[in-house]
């Protein structure tokens, strides 16, 4: 497919030029290149598929409308992330999500396993349970910590790029990420302790 080929060869500057010249294929390449990452980010900020999809559509629509004002010196990638994050945060403020996930629903594999013997983190149900626990831990973080952690883990941006998206100095990016991770870790350790589990048994500490 032509767009697949374009996707692999075009750098940001070429892509931008082609879009501004009116190439629909180039815009498709832009969408295909970034939609997964933007969707994942929006989904984790908002917590549901419908809102996340709305945000991604809105992001590309805004990008399309404002591409002529885009400054060639900046990065298209971080620009798109900034639009998506702002759109997601705006939507999240408007619609405080009504979501409540509880670990106490049913007997979790982690609990079952730990009651019998030490859990094996390589065991699939235990892995799934750890993922669930970590997801809950990330979701309970204050917005600023959650956003920066998700941005970093999903996009693998450098501190400098994160600073561009969040409009923060590099030093603040680093310390905010650090605090986010510390808070997440403390929450997880506490959560495991509350359930009578030893974090050591997870092979974490």
């Amino acid at each position: 497919m032509a767009t697949a080929m374009l996707n692999s060869v075009m750098d940001e500057a070429e892509l931008l030029r082609s879009i501004l010249e009116g190439s629909e294929d180039a815009f498709r390449v832009l969408v295909e290149r970034y939609q997964d990452r933007l969707y994942a980010l929006a989904h984790r900020v908002l917590g549901n598929r419908l809102d996340a999809e709305e945000v991604v559509q809105e992001t590309f629509l805004r990008a399309f409308r404002n591409l002529v004002h885009f400054q060639a010196g900046s990065s298209l990638y971080t620009w798109l992330y900034r639009i998506a994050l702002n759109a997601a945060v705006d939507l999240s403020k408007r619609q405080r999500r009504r979501r409540h996930v509880s670990l106490d629903d049913g007997e979790a594999p982690l609990k079952r396993t730990i009651a019998g013997k030490s859990p094996d983190p390589s065991d699939a149900p235990v892995r799934e349970e750890i993922a669930h626990l970590v997801r809950e831990g990330v979701d309970q973080l204050p917005d600023a910590y959650r956003q920066i952690l998700i941005l970093r883990e999903y996009s693998e941006m450098s501190y400098e790029q994160l600073g561009e998206v969040l409009r923060l100095p590099k030093g603040t990016v680093e310390s905010r990420l650090f605090r986010a991770r510390m808070k997440l870790k403390d929450w997880l350790v506490q959560r495991l302790a509350d359930q009578g589990m030893d974090p050591d048994a997870m092979g974490w500490s």
Binding site: Y39, E54, P121, A131, E153, S158
Partner: protein, 168 residues
Amino acid sequence: MSIPKKVLRLLNRELDTELSLDDRRELSRLKSPELESERRLWRTLSKTIRDDRPSTPIGLTERILNRIASHAPSDRVDDTPGGEDSSGGVRWLMRSAAVAAALLVLNSLFYVAELPKEAQAERPRLKSQWRPEEAFLEGLKEGELPILREARPHLRYLRFFTPVPDGD
């Protein structure tokens, strides 16, 4: 034994591949079972978050491109109880834009009808002298005062502006 905050910060940077040369040297000096265990924890958390990434819904590309092609608000309606249609804002904007455009057309018709005959006759000449907004503002910035005098005849015919008094 708890790990000093300074070392934890190094682990943070290591995870983000932001270690400087000095950081790297310092970390290599600090080998200990506690540090290794902490490092494992941070890596596990990072990997778990990454692996838990939601997958993109099928057909999203087409829906994005269709939406852009139509420039229309999405037809998505939130079906959660008490939820609101998040495209409402876009619709409101489009409606407002349509109303504003209609008012502008009406206003300009009214404006032409209200102009004195001599002004109507003068209109094509004024129009030909019209400067683009940027040039006008640029002139103002550079202290080009005659530009204000140039603008006066235009201002006099604007209905909602107080007429500029004659004379300096």
